[in-house]
Subunit: 153 residues, 5 copies
């Protein structure tokens, strides 16, 4: 079993290190890492990891900047990541941390670390423990932040 | 006959439970459930349910958050769900309840329950009673809210 | 020759009735109707009408609501309808009437009736009389409203 | 060698006439014209011209209106035209003139005439004289307006 | 090994010259240049360079204008470039310099020169030295501007 990690040198935090640590803690899959310049390069990298490197799931890690153009880039990348999944019938877990989600550099680093780790847990559940995701369904999970929780009932 | 249900652990209400209850009430199809983290993971999940699990219709259930980034995610997910349908010639009924459609948590829960159930009815009509949909054509149906009704005539 | 009509029960006017009346007045094609819940279900319905029911043209009829989310849905549906055309090399005539294009319910009904009929005429021209479209090229045709007319010359 | 021209009866100027005149002046390709109602019908028309009528390049001519909905239509059409090119490995030169680019009807007509002609020249260069395009690379060409010119150097 | 360069005559700076200089400095790949009118013509040009001219990577160089319509064009082009990559499993490095990123023509020229060169370095790393990209992962690289640097740690 191989898990791919596509990350960028545009990001200001080594999200892949966080992902790898968490994946290694939770499963014994082989990890293949593929670094590209920016988030718009992630879709094809993820597709190559799936189709040419045999990965059965990819984590796509990016940190879009705070400007409007960065938001547009992130949107384009996300659209591409969804398309890549549809072309391969394989999950690509998008982990994007927007620079303006945090108020300081330290907070940005913590958020990136935590969100990446929590999404690595999601990756493991998707591959090994899908019933755990179903148990959490509708519970308002929020990666990197406090969970929002259930409403009603 | 198999019907797929793709839902998320991001949602704050167990929409799948509502869907399953309604589907079981109205037909005898086997139901296959597939829970993913968020709405952007729904398109590939729906496509897998169709192509690898034999579902002839999928309900895609999600609850996008209230922030602009959540709206963008929902838009990306919707675009992917339409693409997945075109790639499979199979209906995927999108049931999204936006957190900011309701004024309180209780109202949000009721809306999610009701909209999901009414879309489950739509799913049943699409599969078993298409003539009922045609009879309702142009009557301003609104899932989760009061119907808007006809104009003219 | 078969012409498909995909319509919705979300719409507040029976646009399909208008389309069928006009199509029957202008040609002898067999008409196949397929009603779905909302505009986002139209792309796959249209593609099914083309690929599985043998239609050589489809009219996709919808009435998006006035809220921003409705505008987004309409945009997603339109994108899907264009993709469906590219995947089938077949025309899908989109006839969308936005609720906020009219000032009253009566006006909305008239607009829906008129625009649908004028697009049914376009459908007939595309299939039977393409030279008539070329004769009208550049003349500022507006379905449902007064034509805008030529500029220059 | 065949060149396709897809145009609309929504446009308020006979852009195809301008294109045909310029193409005939610059090359001996056979010209096939295909008129559709609006810009959203252009992508499939262009693809049909390429795949079923043997065109090795298509000019897609349209004149989007000034309202926000018209801008959205133009965006959807452009996205479809790019997709059609990717599906066929063939250039489709988009020539859109937005009604609100001009201050008067006369100016709109002149702009449509000039932009169409200058894009017809581009079409000829793409097919017959690619080295001329390379010679112009980075020179700030603007079809229909004064060129913007080089910066730097 | 062949590297493609797709550029435009709309751009106001000869970005291809900068790219070629940098590529020749860093590798011995054959370079194939393909100039098109504008950024929306880049996706199909890049795909042709890959599929019909044997390029194993393409740089797509463009300089979108400052108006809202130019931003929309750039967005459409970017979406197409990502799609072209997914259809070919090949990297297309997008190098777009927006006219309004710079305060003067001189600054615009410098930015275009520098960003293009730094992306040419990225292209070389992707093809020949992928481990260097991984070494830079998470370091906040910014092509054409000062790097943003790491956060945390």
């Amino acid at each position: 079993m191989k898990i791919g990690i596509a990350d960028t040198n545009f990001a200001r935090y080594d999200m892949a290190r966080a992902a790898i640590k968490e994946l290694k803690r939770g499963c014994s899959a082989e990890i293949i890492r593929y670094t590209v310049p920016g988030v718009k390069d992630l879709p094809v990298a993820a597709k190559i990891l799936i189709e040419e490197r045999g990965c059965c799931l990819v984590m796509a890690l990016g940190m879009p900047g705070p400007k409007p153009i960065d938001k547009t880039c992130a949107h384009e990348a996300s659209t591409g990541l969804i398309m890549a999944q549809l072309m391969t019938n394989t999950h690509i877990i998008e982990v994007f941390v927007h620079e303006d989600e945090a108020d300081s550099e330290g907070e940005l680093a913590s958020l990136a670390e935590r969100r990446t780790r929590e999404h690595a847990e999601n990756a493991i559940k998707l591959l090994y423990y899908p019933e755990r995701l179903t148990r959490e369904a509708g519970t308002g999970q929020r990666e990197g932040f406090e969970d929002a929780g259930r409403v009603g009932d």
